[in-house]
């Protein structure tokens, strides 16, 4: 019995150790492997789409087209050199794509490049949209509501009828017994009733006014019409362009920055028409011609698609005018908000405050951006306490974590709810 037990224990122990090691190795490899998707988005997505030709060719299955894997690595790192060397296929590709040289990515390792193509090959074409699934359920719930409302009203009517009947019966009984009936006071002269009504009205009106006042200036779901129908869904969603490619100062300063049209032109010098499958539908249900919207961009930036050059004045300066976008996310002037604080120091994802931008054609304000909403998040969110050396000065908290008194440090704990963190 003991012998058996011993061997069993050993066996279990051995297996679990193996398991742990396997798991660890597995985890380790998965951590160490380059993230193809991220690499693709930050380096390639500006010009390439896995499935469709863009500024550059569609990349899915490209490994089958090119002469060798080594060729592909060389091309990615320095395509110009390959073209200059007279490589036949390279020259062919270069000519086919209007002789636009692909920028070199010398910093990418072989593994990185392979990871990118592994990711590219894994991308599937989006399925045709299925019929709206929720329609049936919605009608169900509304049916239920109606039913409940009907039953409630019926019961109320019944209650009143019963009360009146009861009163009538009591009166009759009083008549029979010879007791005098108390004189009826009409409802509007019933002091108790009036008092209760006034108090209730006061409470409800107060509640309503206070809520209304708090809501003043909040613009949740605000979705203004923009001068150009710019679809975040097409850019950030379908074409997987990294948010920071355009909103580059979100990591550097307090504003995330709307990019200058010149940033758009990095890609749109090549992409002059919209050929995507996704239909561009406005909030009102109108379909938008994507190619016409790109033309609007050309008008702002002074780009002449025919000549493939900017229009210039006598001094050679580009004639362009800024696009007057309508600001969606507005904070009052007395609030100091810093994007880089949240993105870099706090490591907060864009979507946490802006919602699923990658699914929005037209951007709307996802969060209420109210003080309550900010404060709630500051109460719940833990700072990067262990990972960021800045917090080493909070000796007390470190000791508490060590002694197990505390599991983490929230923004509130380091003073994130104090007035002068946001108002100065």
């Amino acid at each position: 019995m003991t012998e058996f037990n011993k061997t069993m224990y050993l066996k279990i122990a051995r297996t679990s150790i193996l398991l742990v090691i396997a798991l660890f190795l597995n985890l380790h490899t998965s951590f160490a492997a380059p993230d193809g998707k991220a690499l693709f988005q930050s380096n390639c997505a500006a010009c390439h789409n896995p499935l469709k030709d863009a500024t550059g060719p569609a990349l899915k299955g490209v490994e089958a087209r090119v002469p060798s894997k080594k060729w592909l690595h060389d091309w990615v790192r320095n395509s110009s050199a390959l073209v200059a060397s007279g490589d036949k296929y390279a020259v062919e590709v270069f000519n086919k794509w209007n002789k636009i040289p692909m920028p070199g990515f010398a910093s990418l390792s072989d593994e990185d490049i392979d990871a990118i193509f592994t990711y590219v090959n894994s991308v599937e074409a989006p399925k045709a949209p299925t019929a709206a699934p929720a329609a049936g359920t919605t009608t169900d719930t509304s049916d239920n509501t109606w039913m409940y409302a009907f039953i409630t009203i019926a019961l109320l009517v019944l209650m009143i009828i019963l009360w009146r009947a009861n009163q009538g019966l009591r009166r009759a009984a009083n008549d029979v017994a010879g007791t005098p009936n108390v004189k009826d006071v009409p409802v509007y002269r019933n002091k108790v009733f009036v008092a209760i009504a006034v108090i209730l009205a006061f409470v409800f009106c107060g509640y309503w006014i206070t809520n209304g006042a708090i809501e003043m200036g909040h613009q949740e779901n605000y979705m203004p019409e923009q001068p150009i129908f710019y679809s975040h869904k097409v850019h950030a969603g379908i074409n997987q362009i990294n948010c920071l490619y355009c909103h580059s100062s979100a990591e550097k300063g307090k504003m995330a920055m709307v990019p200058s049209p010149a940033t758009c032109m990095n890609c749109h010098k090549q992409i002059s028409e919209y050929t995507g499958d996704e239909k561009l539908i406005t909030a009102e249900g109108k379909e938008v011609n994507g190619t016409a919207e790109i033309k609007k961009l050309y008008e702002y930036t002074g780009w002449d698609p025919a000549k493939k050059d900017y229009k210039r004045d006598a001094n050679g300066n580009i004639i362009s005018k800024p696009i007057e976008w309508v600001k969606v996310h507005n904070l009052p002037d007395h609030v100091y908000f810093n994007h880089s604080q949240h993105v870099v120091a706090g490591k907060v994802q864009c979507q946490r405050c802006h919602g699923a931008i990658e699914d929005m054609h037209e951007v709307h304000q996802f969060a209420p951006l109210s003080m309550g909403w900010c404060v709630n998040c500051h109460r719940q969110t833990q700072v990067q306490f262990a990972d960021n050396n800045y917090y080493s000065i909070f000796e007390k908290y470190h000791e508490e974590i060590k002694s197990g008194k505390r599991t983490g440090v929230t923004v509130e704990d380091i003073g994130g709810l104090e007035c002068q963190k946001c108002h100065y």
Binding site: G212, A213, M216, G217, Q219, P224, S249, K252, G253, K254, M255, M257, V258, P259, S260, P261, A262, T263, Y300, T301, I318, S320, K321, P322, I323, E324, W325, V326, K327, N330, P332, D333, H334, Y336, N338, S340, Q341, V344, A345, D387, N388, N389, Y390, Y391, S392, I393, F394, E395, K396, Y397, I414, G415, E418, C419, Q420, K421, H423, Y424
Partner: protein
């Protein structure tokens, strides 16, 4: 009778019924509630009407839609601009010859703040009030926006055509180019190119406030018409005869920095330079001095002679005993070596004799460097006077005027205006339509310095580059460009400048480095890799001596021959804020900055001593500071007459009346400058060689009029509570612990609670404390006592700061009262300008004020000693303001900040009333944005340009612009603290000491302010409080348990006695010579 120790003004000293302070909140309610409510002038029906209207208005306002806001990106984004992130450009501030190396902070392409440049070995990061405020001049509404011909708008082409024609035609007559002192080497080249093209042109340098006397004396004594390099930091004895070198003399930023080095004192190094000051008026240098005596301005020469003779043992024979004693003592100290004598006199003979003294005490080569000359002032008065004669004689055909305004600031401005009419072509490069520009045919406005490329050579071999922080806002053109175009040069000034520096610096790399740092260290200094900037200047520019070749005897004879008669004299002086006038007169920030000594704003006035004032007017109320209405007097001298209100200034010589320059400007100079004060320049006089800044034989007579002057000193009162500690150096040396003993006596009893046995010595608390034995036996450890006081002295809970605890230390000994911090704070924190009418009602908004206290006897100016105490929110850890706020708009942060949430504030003003330091300010009006509704603007006439879109560009976008009805106060520049923390956080490292600097700290030329995280045991502030300056440290009104986060360091005067100890016996004052120890302990 024992004198009161310190007094804010004469009224506090006089035991009168007159009000002793102003109260901002004293006003009665605007309702009449004396009788029945229904009898009130506003009856019930009106009340209901108002109620109905306000309800309707509220409903209307609340139903308004949110405005649609646009976000407009750059069409083509400049590479180096990230929206919301400031850029700093190193540049150079030049005003006439005044120099300061600076950094321009720009936000989204517009300069919003000036900061000192620490790379510069001359100014070493120091700034002055005017440098700080200069950013507002850029957005001045009165600046000219295009060229003018005969006061009509014109184009550059038309102007160039006209000027060139005139230049070509005037060959028969003399032409003059008049400029203020030019320290830019490339500009000088451009001028010589112009002079080469037009040989009958002459360049005359004219300084409104002249230093000709010094230049000529130096030429006579040393063969060089230059000013040497003074090194106050190396001096052990500094003697100044009328030179306000900390406020206005030559290069105050540089000298203040040096001075503070020489005067740094601590218990470990109880030594400091001794400063003797002889002056006619009361300046901030006089206030800083250890020994101060007064004389009339005409006696400066006599004082210098007396000092010269005293070096040989002759005892001076002035009427004033203090003056005689001080001269003898100064001579004794000077003989000990490392002395330095400077004089503000513009008399050649006086300056020659000063040179003789400096030569005989061996100052040349020890504290005066003749190897490096200062180029700050180059104007020679006689050349200008000769030119005016030539103009009058009709010999001048063309006159070009750059940065000069003789119609206003020449001693005979009217005569110059007459002469100007006899010149056919007159061209002004003025940036505004000033008094002279108005009379010129052509105006070609120059750029503001923040829009210009340029350079400066403030001292030989020290170069500084100027780069713009913004493209020219208006159609202006660089003065140099105009000259180049008129001399048919092929290059523009920009190209010339670029080429000049590329060639001079050798390579693009050096050029880029110089642009980035703003300064070029001369070739000599490049080789040394000195670590300390102070050493660098000393080590790399070897002190160079020179042999005195002047004739002291002739100088003495010349001075004595000119003996002035007895009687009143009138002296003109530059205010620290307004200076010679110029563009500064129209700077609302500077206009509202209280003068350090008189504390008056928005005006100039006649400063007279209390004794003189009493002679004029027995009634006391007219000479106090509380009552704003001042008696107007008539001053006549030099054949000129001015009527000005009197402002009583203790410390000014009894026979002197002083008037500030820079006032009495024309309407077109700007709204802030217009119609205020009187022009005092006509009181200057011509002595045949140079201008004297005083006039003898003055008479003053009383008039029946009064005129209100807005004086701030009495606005915020500590109710007579003692607020600081002052010692003589001897006392401090003997008993460095005296101050801490006083504190111990006050707070020591709170070290532990009587019933808390564990905490008592021997208990648990004492066990871990190595100072425990001291605790029982004697004085005890002050830090422990502070801790005990903090915890046991109150019923309120103690705030803990787990991460950062901000603290500030202000050294009263280093503070010279110059006001740079005030202006820096104003620029950084969008502090509003309220205008004179509201200053009169005590409604000024400055977050930091500099309190001035006198001690001594008002009737005897020689006894007056003056101290400055910067006062700002003390960020109390047990703040009286926080407890009384009904809406918790002001509360405490975990970092020790007393926070103010403007949007929560409902304006009860309880906090301001409960603040013992009186540092909170209420917005009685919408000072900055009132023009958003029609007819909503409060109009004052003089401050109104602040409510303009152009002027508002100066606002700091990181700081909320406060609206009407809320309180505000110092925030410790929380936006800078947050920024420093964020930088560290983003880089994942702890914050470094000195990374977060407040605006006042950064601007301070004497490093009086230290700021940092007290929780960091390696920080400067922690070391200063616990080790370096622990003996001098104290908190203001510590006994009331406010637990301030701002501490002060005691004032140490290197004098024999303090004026606060003066005792009057039988009407004569004596000074106690009993032992300090016996008296105090």
């Amino acid at each position: 009778m024992s004198q009161k120790q310190y007094w804010m003004g004469v009224e506090e000293l006089q035991q009168t019924e007159a009000p002793k302070q102003m109260d901002e909140f004293k006003e009665d309610l605007p309702f009449d509630v004396s009788g029945n409510l229904l009898d009130a002038p506003t009856p019930r029906r009106d009340f209901l009407k108002y109620l109905g209207f306000s309800t309707a208005a509220a409903v209307l306002a609340s139903s308004c839609e949110m405005p649609v806001r646009k976000v407009i990106p750059y069409a083509i984004k400049p590479e180096d601009i990230t929206p919301g992130v400031p850029n700093y450009y190193a540049s150079t501030f030049v005003d006439g010859g005044e120099y300061c190396s600076i950094l321009i902070k720009t936000r989204d392409g517009r300069p919003i703040k000036i900061e000192g440049n620490t790379s510069c070995t001359i100014t070493k990061g120091a700034t002055t009030a005017r440098v700080q405020a200069s950013v507002l001049n850029l957005y001045d509404k009165a600046r000219l926006r295009q060229p003018y011909i005969s006061q009509k708008e014109a184009t550059f082409e038309a102007v160039d055509k006209k000027v060139k024609e005139a230049l070509g035609a005037q060959a028969s007559k003399q032409g003059y180019l008049v400029t203020s002192t030019i320290i830019s080497p490339t500009t000088k080249d451009v001028i010589s190119q112009f002079l080469a093209k037009y040989p009958n042109f002459k360049h005359v340098t004219y300084d409104a406030v002249s230093y000709s006397g010094m230049l000529l004396a130096n030429e006579a004594s040393y063969g060089k018409r230059t000013i040497p390099s003074y090194q106050f930091n190396l001096a052990k004895t500094i003697v100044s005869i009328g030179a306000d070198f900390l406020g206005t003399w030559l290069s105050p930023a540089e000298y203040s920095k040096q001075y503070s080095e020489a005067r740094k004192v601590s218990a470990k190094k109880p030594e400091m330079a001794r400063h003797y000051h002889f002056e006619a008026i009361h300046t901030i240098s006089g206030a800083a001095a250890d020994v101060r005596a007064t004389c009339k301005p005409s006696e400066y020469g006599a004082v210098v002679i007396a000092l010269y003779n005293a070096l040989n043992g002759t005892v001076p024979k002035f009427a004033s005993k203090k003056l005689n004693d001080s001269i003898v003592k100064a001579a004794e100290d000077l003989k000990k070596g490392n002395g330095l004598v400077v004089s503000g006199s513009n008399d050649v003979n006086v300056q020659t004799l000063v040179n003789a003294i400096n030569a005989s005490i061996g100052a040349n080569g020890t504290t005066i460097n003749w190897g490096v000359s200062s180029n700050y002032k180059q104007g020679i008065d006689s050349e200008f006077v000769a030119m005016v004669e030539a103009m009058n004689a009709g010999q001048v055909g063309t006159l070009l005027l750059h940065d000069v305004n003789p119609v206003y600031d020449y001693y005979q401005g009217a005569k110059f205006a007459e002469a100007l009419k006899k010149v056919a072509t007159t061209v002004s490069f003025a940036e505004r339509n000033d008094e002279t520009a108005q009379l010129c045919n052509i105006i070609v406005p120059d750029h503001n310095y923040l829009e210009s490329w340029g350079d400066a050579e403030p001292k030989t071999g020290y170069y500084s580059l100027m780069q713009p922080g913004i493209a020219p806002i208006f159609k202006t053109r660089a003065f140099q460009d105009s000259l180049l175009i008129w001399s048919d040069a092929t290059q523009s000034y920009g190209q010339y400048w670029n080429q000049y520096w590329l060639t001079k610096l050798g390579s693009q790399e050096n050029f880029d480095k110089a642009i980035q740092e703003g300064v070029v260290t001369s070739k000599k200094t490049v080789t040394s890799a000195a670590t300390d900037s102070t050493q660098q200047i000393v080590a790399t520019t070897p002190m160079s001596s020179a042999t005195f070749a002047g004739n002291a005897a002739t100088a003495i004879a010349a001075i004595e021959s000119k003996k002035a008669p007895a009687g009143m004299e009138v002296m003109v002086y530059e205010k620290v804020s307004i200076g010679k006038g110029g563009a500064w007169s129209n700077n609302p920030w500077l206009q509202e900055m209280p003068d350090p000594i008189s504390k008056a704003t928005w005006d100039n006035y006649a400063c007279v001593s209390p004794k003189k004032a009493k002679e004029l007017e027995e009634e006391l109320t007219s000479i106090t500071e509380v009552v704003a209405k001042k008696r107007v007097i008539k001053i006549s001298a030099n054949g000129q007459e001015l009527t000005l209100p009197i402002v009583v200034t203790p410390g000014i010589h009894n026979d002197v009346v002083a008037v500030a320059l820079g006032y009495g400007r024309d309407e077109k100079v700007g709204r802030a400058a217009a119609n205020t004060g009187k022009n005092a320049y006509p009181f200057q006089s011509w002595n045949g060689t140079t201008f004297d800044n005083y006039a003898i034989n003055a008479t003053i007579t009383k008039t029946a009029e009064t005129y209100p002057v807005a004086i701030t000193q009495t606005h915020m009162s500590h109710e007579g509570r003692p607020v600081f500690h002052e010692y003589t150096l001897e006392e401090f040396k003997k008993h460095p612990a005296h101050l801490q003993d006083e504190r111990r006596a006050e707070i020591g009893k709170y070290s532990f609670l009587p019933w808390d046995e564990e905490a008592q010595p021997g208990g648990e608390h004492g066990a871990h404390d190595k100072h425990n034995t001291k605790h029982v036996e004697g004085p005890g450890n002050i830090q422990d006592m502070e801790q005990g006081f903090r915890q046991n002295g109150t019923l309120y809970p103690n705030y803990v700061s787990p991460g950062i605890h901000w603290g500030m230390s202000i050294d009263i000994n280093a503070c010279i009262g110059c006001g740079a911090c005030l202006m820096a704070c104003q620029a950084e924190n969008n502090v509003s300008v309220v205008g004179k009418t509201h200053v009169l009602k005590s409604q000024e908004m400055h977050w930091i004020r500099i309190d001035r206290y006198f001690s001594g006897m008002p009737d005897d100016p020689d006894t007056i000693q003056t101290v400055f105490q910067p006062m700002l929110c003390q960020h109390c850890d047990n703040a009286p303001c926080e407890n009384v706020c009904p809406v918790s708009a002001t509360n405490h942060s975990s970092e020790g900040l007393n926070q103010m949430a403007y949007n929560r504030c409902i304006g009860t003003k309880y906090c301001a009333n409960n603040c013992p330091y009186k540092v909170r300010h209420f917005n009685w009006m919408d000072w900055n944005g009132a023009d958003c509704f029609d007819d909503n603007l409060y109009e004052d006439g003089r401050r109104d340009d602040i409510n303009d879109d152009l002027t508002r560009m100066v606002l700091n976008p990181d700081v909320t612009v406060r609206s009407r009805g809320v309180m505000e106060k110092c925030s410790f520049c929380v936006q800078r603290l947050q920024d420093a923390k964020l930088h560290a956080k983003k880089e994942g490292r702890p914050m470094k000491d000195g990374e977060a600097r407040t605006a006042c700290q950064q601007s301070c030329p004497t490093d009086a302010i230290v700021f940092g995280n007290v929780n960091d045991k390696n920080s400067e502030i922690y070391r200063l409080r616990t080790q370096d300056q622990s003996e001098r440290m104290f908190y203001v009104m510590e006994q009331i348990h406010t637990l301030p986060n701002v501490n002060y360091l005691s004032k140490i005067r290197n004098a024999e006695f303090l004026a606060k100890e003066a005792v009057i016996t039988n009407g004569k004052e004596t000074f106690p010579n009993d032992d300090f120890h016996n008296k105090h302990i």
